[in-house]
C-alpha cells in the first residue's frame, strides 16, 4: 500500500538533525553513551526514563503538534528495554525486592503510555514487537489504520543494543536509535510517497537491524532499499509522488 510520509525524525548518539543524518552509513555505527535531551518531557518524569524511552520521546516530540484526535499512535521495539528488564529479573532471581519505578516502566508499552499521558492523547494506541520484522510490522500496522480510513498515523520505533547478558544471542548489528514517522493516507504538501512490500526470504539475512537499513536508505535518498529479516524480504520504494 502506498502511503505518504510528511515528517520523519530520528535520533542516535551524535545524530539528531536531518543534516547529521545525511552522512549516516550502516558501516559506521555511532558509538557512545549520549542520551537525547528529551526536552519535551518534564524533568520529574524524564529522570525515570532510560535511553530506550528517552529516544522514543525525543523523536515523537516534534511530531506531537501534528497529531489530531483521529491519529492512532504505534510504538514499536524489537527488544524493549532489556537493560531494565534484566535488572528486574536478576533482582527476582536473587530474592531482592523489585524497584517499583523500574517495575512500573518495564512493560513494552511504557514509553507509549507515558507519551499518551503527557500529550493527553485519547486515540487508539498500540505497542508492538515482531522479532527481526518489527519495524516493517509496525509500518504495516500503520498502513492497516490508513486503509481503514484514518488520515494519518504516528509510528515511533526505538531500540537499544541488547543488555550485556543477552549479547551472546544477538543476531544482527544494532545501535541505540529511534525514529518517529508521520504517515498519511493521501498526498500532503511536501510528503514523500512510499510503498513497503514483502516477499519470502531469499538469500542471507541482513547483517544490520531493520532500523539501521531503513535509516541508511531513507537518509541516503535511495529510490528503494531492502532488508532481509529472518523470514522475509522487505522493500521500501519511493514512488513518484502524484495525486
Amino acid at each position: 500500500m502506498q502511503v505518504w510520509v510528511s515528517q520523519l525524525h530520528a535520533w542516535a548518539p551524535g545524530l539528531s538533525t536531518g543534516a547529521d543524518w545525511q552522512g549516516f552509513c550502516a558501516d559506521e555505527l555511532p558509538l557512545g553513551d549520549d542520551k537525547p535531551a528529551a526536552g519535551g518531557v518534564p524533568a520529574m518524569t524524564r529522570r525515570r526514563l532510560t535511553r530506550w524511552g528517552r529516544q522514543a520521546m525525543e523523536v515523537a516530540e516534534p511530531l506531537a503538534p501534528a497529531l489530531t484526535e483521529q491519529t492512532p499512535v504505534i510504538f514499536s521495539s524489537r527488544h524493549g528495554d532489556t537493560a531494565r528488564t534484566f535488572k528486574l529479573l536478576r533482582d527476582l532471581a536473587s530474592g531482592e525486592p523489585l524497584s517499583p519505578n523500574a517495575f512500573s516502566l518495564s512493560v513494552h508499552n511504557s514509553a507509549l503510555g507515558l507519551f499518551t499521558i503527557l500529550k493527553d492523547i485519547h486515540t487508539p494506541s498500540l505497542a508492538l514487537a515482531a522479532g527481526s520484522d518489527t519495524l516493517a510490522a509496525a509500518w504495516q500496522e500503520a498502513c492497516s489504520w490508513l486503509a481503514t480510513g484514518r488520515e494519518q498515523v504516528l509510528l515511533v520505533h526505538t531500540d537499544e543494543p541488547l543488555a550485556d547478558f543477552y549479547q551472546p544471542y544477538r543476531d544482527e548489528l544494532d545501535m541505540p536509535a529511534a525514529v518517529g514517522i508521520l504517515l498519511h493516507r493521501a498526498p500532503t504538501a511536501g510528503a514523500d510517497a512510499v510503498e513497503l512490500t514483502m516477499a519470502q526470504a531469499q538469500g542471507p539475512r541482513s547483517r544490520h537491524s531493520m532500523m539501521i537499513n531503513f535509516l541508511a536508505g531513507w537518509f541516503g535518498h535511495k529510490a528503494r532499499f531492502t532488508h532481509a529479516s529472518a523470514s522475509h524480504q522487505w522493500c521500501w520504494a519511493r514512488v513518484a509522488a502524484h495525486g
Partner: protein
C-alpha cells in the same frame, strides 16, 4: 543528626535518580511530596524500599502514620532513629 540527614538525602537522590540535585538542594524540613520536592506515590514506594535496604527499617504498608513519617527528610530521620532504637 546531620550525618543521617545527609545519608537520607543521598539515598533519595540516588534511588529516585534526581540527577540534577545535590544534598544541599534538599531542605531537611521541607515537604518531599506535593508542593515541596514534588515527589509522587511511586517515589514513596521507592523510598520505602530504600529505607529497608539501607537502614534496615521495616515499614508497615497499612500504617496510618506513614504519611507523617514520609513528610520530610527530618521526619524520615526521626522514624529511622525510632526504629533503630527498638
Amino acid at each position: 543528626m546531620t550525618d543521617i540527614d545527609n545519608d537520607i538525602k543521598t539515598m533519595i537522590i540516588e534511588e529516585l535518580e534526581l540527577e540534577d540535585l545535590s544534598v544541599e538542594d534538599i531542605e531537611t524540613e521541607a515537604p518531599l511530596f506535593g508542593d515541596g520536592l514534588g515527589l509522587d506515590s511511586i517515589d514513596a514506594l521507592e523510598i520505602g524500599l530504600a529505607l529497608q535496604k539501607r537502614f534496615n527499617v521495616k515499614i508497615d504498608a497499612n500504617s496510618e502514620q506513614n504519611k507523617d513519617h514520609f513528610r520530610s527528610v527530618a521526619s524520615l530521620r526521626d522514624f529511622v532513629l525510632a526504629q533503630q532504637a527498638q
